[in-house]
Amino acid sequence: MARTLTMIQAINEALSQEMTRDDRVFILGEDIGLSGGVFKVTDGLLDKFGEDRVLDTPLAEGIIIAAAIGASMMGLRPVPEIQFADFITPAVEQIIQQASKLRYRSAGGYSCPITIRICCGAGGGSGLYHSQENASWFVHEPGLKVVMPSTAYDAKGLLASAIRDPNPVLFFEHKSLYRQAKGDVPEDDYTVPIGPAAVRREGRDLTILTYGYMTPMSLDAADQMSKRGTDAEVVELRTLAPLDKETILKSVRKTNKVLIVHEDKKTMGLGAEVSAIISEEAFEDLDGPILRVTGPDVPAIPFSPNLDKAWQVDTSKIIAGIEKLAAY
């Protein structure tokens, strides 16, 4: 039976069901136990599963991830949390030098089935160091899978898939979607496969490729533009690594125009890679330039309201992108 849940509730339920289903699963991170998480994502899990499976850790992201990597080598299924994507940097050593390469450097002798949950993204004027959306850093590293859902349904199903996946998976949760993304979520456990993108809105005139919080924004922009005669298709990537080239190229071949929308910075963001793939594999199908609407190339989101507002990627910027592309 489905009920309406927020993304927070959906993730909490996925964790709880996976921990019930498989006693190798345990969670660890800063403030996830006694306090139930900064955003209450892990609320109630300490009471339900006890200290052995819900570990409040020292304030040290490196060992949070390393402890998970080592435990996964013992056959366990750790789900570490990085409280804010901004603070993943001390753990990058472990993620890139250990997790992504462990299987490769041992020729399959060791595996690293961990799922790193990471809260990311702009929202609520959180300033320079509680707002970054840096998932693309990890897309660059083969050996890792990178996932970012935008609906409560996908959040539960993708997280279950991630935990059951034999590879290291980075599961990015956008904080602006935590309470905003509400939807029907089945009570029973289910999975949404890692890999496939989702066509969220069918359209004829152009394709918007997007992910994360930019998905509802892009859908809003597409709805507004349809009233003005431009029919945009919206494809949500959902899995950023490995990319679902097939769905991307299918949509490009259908509409012949591409707008890429992401919150991450423009330079070397995921849009650059997606754009290159399209130009390599579907150049003949394009009727216009591949355009990008992205976060600005500034170091991080400044705190003061006007600066924060100037930074935001909002519906109006996406609409401007659609209009520019539609003119070709």
């Binding site: 345990f26 250990q98 390469k101 089935p113 083969p142």
Partner: protein, 335 residues
């Protein structure tokens, strides 16, 4: 604790009942085997039999053998770049160890990692990254797994003096202290982190003092005395198996050669090297066994001959093994 004798082990003056002749000879055989394999690896590199580099542990054998000799099959070793011989002590057949140097398909990682960065999954030796102290962090995670699975295995994690300056060392030790994990951190303090002397690495006299900050015991040891190391390791391993938590063993020792085979180590004075060579961990133990009539010139020759034969066969095996095909580039990225 800051004594210069470096012998903070329990009952240092009395011979332990557990030092049976079999154990003493076993330790000796392993010391010889490690020394001979390491020297052979150096020669093979100089002969151009393999590329890359080799990080010799000659001079540090007592620290490795003393800590890893009695580990069980289920126990884990987290080696660094200088601990190629840890695989040998854990029981990896020599042919695979030399195949590792040669980057052949018969190496445990099918030629993926650089020569001395060897792991052996079957025997729980973790394939190391080159990141300094990384093996301490991952090894600590394995110890967490052991605890969660209620096993009685232990992890022995190796690093040099340089690694103790790295943040990862602190994070690993702190976490292991909090959770009383079954891990033994073995710091092989050879006085030089590549070319940086210990005085520029730390203000401490004994790196083992760091353990106090993490709430578990740390001991400074004569890392060239295999029995001193062995005794301390036995205590540490027993403590870990009993669920009483980690121990830090600082083995004060010396690497005879450069950081790697391409490092002539001109930053060290000759007298220092010569002085440490006089404290050769293999020769001093050998003399001890001969004095006790446990070893003769004849039996020594036999051990050397046997080991030489084993090494030659292993090198031959590695030499004859094929290189992996270029198509293997894409294997094992994802499960």
């Amino acid at each position: 604790m800051a004594s210069k004798t470096n012998r903070a082990v329990m009952e240092p003056e009395t011979e332990r009942a557990s030092h049976s002749p079999d154990l003493l000879l076993g330790l000796y055989r392993m010391l010889v085997k490690c020394r001979m394999c390491d020297e052979k690896a150096r020669i093979l590199f100089r002969q151009g039999k393999y590329k890359g580099n080799f990080y010799s542990g000659v001079g540090q054998e007592a620290a490795e053998v003393g800590t890893a000799y009695t580990l069980r099959k289920g126990d884990w070793i987290a080696p660094s770049h200088r601990d190629w011989t840890a695989n040998i002590i854990k029981g990896a057949p020599l042919k695979y160890c030399f195949a590792q140097l040669f980057a052949k398909t018969t190496s445990p990682d099918r030629g993926r990692s650089s020569p001395a960065h060897m792991g052996f999954p079957e025997l729980h030796v973790i394939t190391p990254a080159s990141s300094i102290a990384g093996q301490l962090n991952v090894g600590t995670g394995v110890a967490l797994g052991i605890k969660k699975l209620h096993q009685d295995s232990v992890v022995v994690a190796y690093c040099g003096d340089g690694a103790t300056s790295f943040g990862g060392f602190h994070e690993a030790c702190n976490f292991a202290g909090v959770h009383r994990l079954p891990i033994i951190y073995v710091v092989q303090n050879n006085l030089w982190a590549e070319s940086v002397p210990l005085r520029l690495q730390t203000a401490l006299t004994n790196l083992s003092d760091r353990a106090k900050a993490y709430g578990f015991p740390g001991y400074p040891l004569d890392g060239n005395d295999v029995l001193a190391v062995y005794d301390a390791a036995q205590t540490a391993i027993a403590r870990a198996r009993a669920g009483e938590g980690p121990t830090l063993l600082e083995c004060k020792t010396y690497r005879w050669y450069g950081h790697s085979e391409i490092d002539p180590a001109k930053y060290r004075v000759k007298e220092e090297v010569e002085q440490w060579k006089k404290r050769d961990p293999v020769a001093t133990f050998e003399k001890k066994l001969m004095d006790r009539k446990l070893l003769s010139e004849e039996s020594k020759k036999e051990i050397v001959a046997e080991t030489t034969k084993e090494i030659n066969e292993a090198v031959e095996f590695a030499d004859q093994s094929p290189y992996p095909d270029g198509s293997e580039l894409w294997d094992n990225i994802w499960a």
